[in-house]
């Protein structure tokens, strides 16, 4: 199988502290890949590196053959790799609708058009509404994003990411702070919306990981200690001691 | 040679004076995130206070009392004007101080008249401290230097060693959370702002000994203090010191250089006959140098010489 996203010997240092210590990771086209690991293992950092938020200290990252490292976040996003943030990051002062329309326009490269009114771009508007519908925010269309409840904000965050129709999606703890019900719903949502896309997700809730993902990589202290199918991971003794404890029973 | 030595001394002292004025600004900005446009006005108030008090108590007591007065005014401003708009964000606070500039200047005009007041220098400061060739280096410049040095030491200790410093630095970003840890944010803010104002007042009182004490003082000091703070790195005290000295020295020496940019290029064999900017004498542009410096810094090292990354 071909890897869409491929990391080779990726290293990241912050001053003296080496946080990512040579990560090799191959995310296969169309698979749902989970990245788990103890707090502070470097999962978010890895995301930052892939999405261009941080610069590599060493190694290389490829997206379907093209080098990502060294490119700006914007460039990477335009190459079809989108991410969500662990700390919710949306446009608080704008309505849910405007948030989504913005993302849609960005994807269609129409977001900097200065010679037409945004309201004239009805197709974009329709898509925005549809995407709100998809994450159950339809009733909140005109609410300023800042006034949404936390969970609603997470949902919007997700919708923004998906609105880019990316080939590869990076999700950092998409269900954090959601009730079990919400979480379950969100997982279904992710399933539906990322159909046919490649998905790399960081998640601490094992039920979700096991329900959602085809393969799991375990990151410990900046190294990938294991990559395998859920069942195998669950029964992997190292992983249990390093991360799971007795959270799941194989 | 004499010229070089004296210019060096002048540059350093001028730099130190700049530091005196900008330290309070840096403090308030670094800790409260408020860029106090009215800082120059506090400087002016300090000068007038020094002048008015000195006429009653004599010079030296005035040097002590004037800053106190200004600090009190600062406290009042923070409590009754700034505090209420705090929740509307920094922009709003900045605008408030921006408005204060006009109010204070006009009040000064109203109360002390539009002209510079006659602020005599005490004899012990008037006499020269040392002689370089046939140029004297006056005592009050040494005085300025000493005060500035003391100021730096004191502030540095305050920020590094006290918890108040910690509280305020934290409160810049998350006032709510700080109060949720049991700290009375508003009180600390008031104290810090008062301190900043007091420093400006001290600088004004000291500077008023030499510079004409007039309602335009703030105006003339102008944005140079902002330049210092930005070049040094917003909120960094050592940065402010370095920047002040840098600006002090560069402007001082630039004055002596009559060469034009064109000359410089020509000696490099470039640009034979370019008019405009290339034929302006450096000496006549010494006032613009700080701004060049600022732009340069902001482009090369946006967070300032010693500023911590945003």
């Amino acid at each position: 199988m071909t890897a869409t996203l491929e990391l080779k010997g990726v290293v990241k240092r912050f001053g003296p502290a080496e946080i990512i210590r040579g990560v090799d990771l191959r995310v296969l086209r169309g698979e749902r890949h989970a990245l788990i690991g103890p707090n502070g293992a470097g999962k978010s950092t890895l995301f930052h590196l892939v999405s261009g938020h941080l610069r590599l200290s060493g190694g290389e990252i490829r997206l379907g053959g093209t080098r990502l490292d060294g490119r700006s976040p914007a460039a990477i996003a335009r190459l079809g790799l989108a991410r969500s943030f662990q700390i919710t990051s949306i446009f608080g002062g704008m309505s849910v609708f405007e948030n989504l329309r913005l993302a849609v326009l960005a994807r269609r490269r129409r977001a900097t058009v200065a010679w037409r009114l945004a309201s004239a771009m009805t197709d974009a508007a329709e898509e925005a509404v549809a995407r709100a519908e998809a994450v159950r925010l339809r009733p909140r269309l005109d609410t300023p994003a800042a006034d949404l409840a936390y969970a609603e904000q997470r949902a919007l965050e997700l919708a923004l990411t998906l609105a880019l129709d990316p080939g590869v999606v990076l999700l950092d703890e998409p269900t954090a702070g959601m009730s079990a019900e919400e979480a379950a719903a969100t997982v279904d949502l992710i399933r539906r919306t990322t159909e046919g896309r490649t998905l790399l997700v960081v998640e601490h809730d094992m039920d979700i990981v096991f329900r959602l993902c085809d393969r799991i990589s375990v990151l410990v202290n900046g190294r990938v200690v294991a990559t395998d199918a859920p069942a195998a991971i669950a029964s992997n003794p190292d992983v249990r001691t390093a991360y799971l404890g007795d959270a799941v029973d194989a | 040679m004499d010229y070089f030595v004296i210019s060096l001394l002048n540059g350093v002292v001028y730099g130190l004076l700049l530091f005196m004025v900008s330290s309070g600004l840096t403090l308030v900005f670094g800790m409260m995130g408020v860029l106090n446009f009215a800082h120059g006005s506090f400087y002016m108030i300090g000068a007038y206070a020094g002048y008015a008090i000195a006429r009653v108590t004599g010079f030296w007591p005035a040097m002590v009392l004037a800053p106190v007065v200004v600090a009190l005014i600062g406290a009042a401003v923070e409590r009754w004007l700034l505090e209420p708009v705090h929740r509307h964000g920094h922009a709003q606070e900045l605008l408030l101080t921006f408005g204060l500039v006009f109010v204070i200047e006009e009040l000064a005009k109203l109360l002390f008249g539009p002209f510079a007041v006659d602020n005599p220098m005490p004899a012990e400061l008037a006499r020269p401290a040392l002689q370089v060739g046939d140029i004297a280096f006056p005592a009050f410049k040494a005085f300025i230097g000493v005060v500035a040095a003391a100021m730096f030491a004191g502030l540095f200790a305050l920020l590094r060693l006290t918890r108040a410093g910690l509280v305020v630095r934290a409160a810049v970003h998350r006032p709510d959370m700080v109060s949720a840890l049991g700290h009375d944010v508003s009180r600390v803010f008031m104290l810090v702002f008062a301190l900043g104002a007091g420093l400006a007042g001290l600088a004004g009182a000291v500077a008023g000994v030499f510079y004409p004490v007039s309602p335009n003082m703030a105006h003339e000091l102008g944005v140079i203090v902002f330049v210092v703070v930005v070049v040094g790195g917003l909120g960094s005290l050592p940065g402010a010191l370095v920047a002040s000295l840098l600006i002090g020295l560069s402007t001082t020496f630039a004055v002596g250089i009559d060469a034009t940019l064109g000359d410089g290029l020509r000696t490099l064999g470039l640009a034979w006959t370019m008019g405009g900017i290339f034929d302006v004498r450096l000496s006549s542009m010494s006032g613009a140098i700080p701004f060049f410096l600022m732009l340069l810094i902001l482009l090369l090292r946006p967070s300032g010489l010693l500023g911590e990354r945003a």
């Binding site: 690991g37 707090n39 502070g40 293992a41 959601m178 959270a247 | 934290a170 049991g182 944010v185």
Partner: protein, 238 residues
């Protein structure tokens, strides 16, 4: 049941025109762990904010050890012994971990915790003591937030979704910590999404709905497919 330290009665609060809380009644006794659950957006975080004074209550009373707290500024309430751990952790990004903790350190009315006790709880924090909190990992920030508030020596601590973003091992650790804290005689009001954890920890559970406490009782009430869970949480069985 012992005399409650925290006694909330008819608490009302909201944002601007939208009224979120319509009279919440709650009590927390010393050393007691009370779970506060409800749907997303039901107002649990709002309730905590209103109790600690970060959000001015528009009505009702919040008594701490018999003294009225409603309407008093947050710092006064906290000094009186009511600590608060926000749901979004709120680290002081420009300070180091150590400095963050130092800020929390206060001579509170409750048990005096020491900084290295916190490091015992969360060894990870000791490793990161010198780093700026802004760059901490999500989980690390969560630990920091809890430790920071405990250092204030509270009598009651309000915790908003502490396990969010924590790895399973750490979650287990956290549960231990909360038990220890409670054992030290400190009341805990716990807002938590993962019902399993609440059921495991709490001695009493209050359910928030329509801006009121619509049900209160021992964890048993919410075990299994009870009517309450169906009606107010609608959790498809665990």
């Amino acid at each position: 049941m012992p005399e409650p330290v925290l006694d909330v009665a008819g608490l009302e609060a909201g944002y601007g025109h939208s009224r979120i809380l319509r009279g919440v009644d709650l009590t927390v006794g010393p050393g007691e762990i009370v779970g506060l659950v409800g749907r997303n957006g039901s107002g649990r975080s709002t309730a905590l904010k209103a109790m600690v004074g970060l959000l001015a209550p528009s009505g009702g009373s919040v008594r701490l050890g018999g003294r009225e707290m409603a309407g008093r500024p947050a710092h006064a309430v906290v000094r009186a012994g009511l600590a608060y751990v926000p749901e979004d952790r709120q680290p002081f990004v420009n300070l180091t971990v150590a400095e963050n903790l130092r800020l929390g350190l206060q001579p509170g009315p409750g048990r005096r915790w020491r900084v290295d006790e916190m490091f015992e709880f969360f060894p990870r924090l000791r490793e990161r003591a010198r780093t700026r909190a802004g760059v901490l990992s999500g989980g690390e920030q969560q630990m920091l937030a809890l430790a920071r508030s405990l250092l204030g020596g509270p009598r009651v601590i309000l915790v908003d979704e502490p396990t969010e973003g924590l790895a399973p091992l750490i979650v287990a650790r956290l549960v231990e910590v909360l038990r220890t804290v409670a054992a030290a005689g400190i009341g805990i009001l716990l807002v938590e999404q993962r019902l399993t954890i609440v059921l495991d920890l709490a001695t009493r559970i209050a359910v928030l709905g329509h801006g009121r406490v619509v049900h209160e009782g021992p964890p048993g009430d919410l075990r299994g497919d009870s009517a309450v869970t169906q009606r107010w949480l609608a959790v498809s069985g665990h």
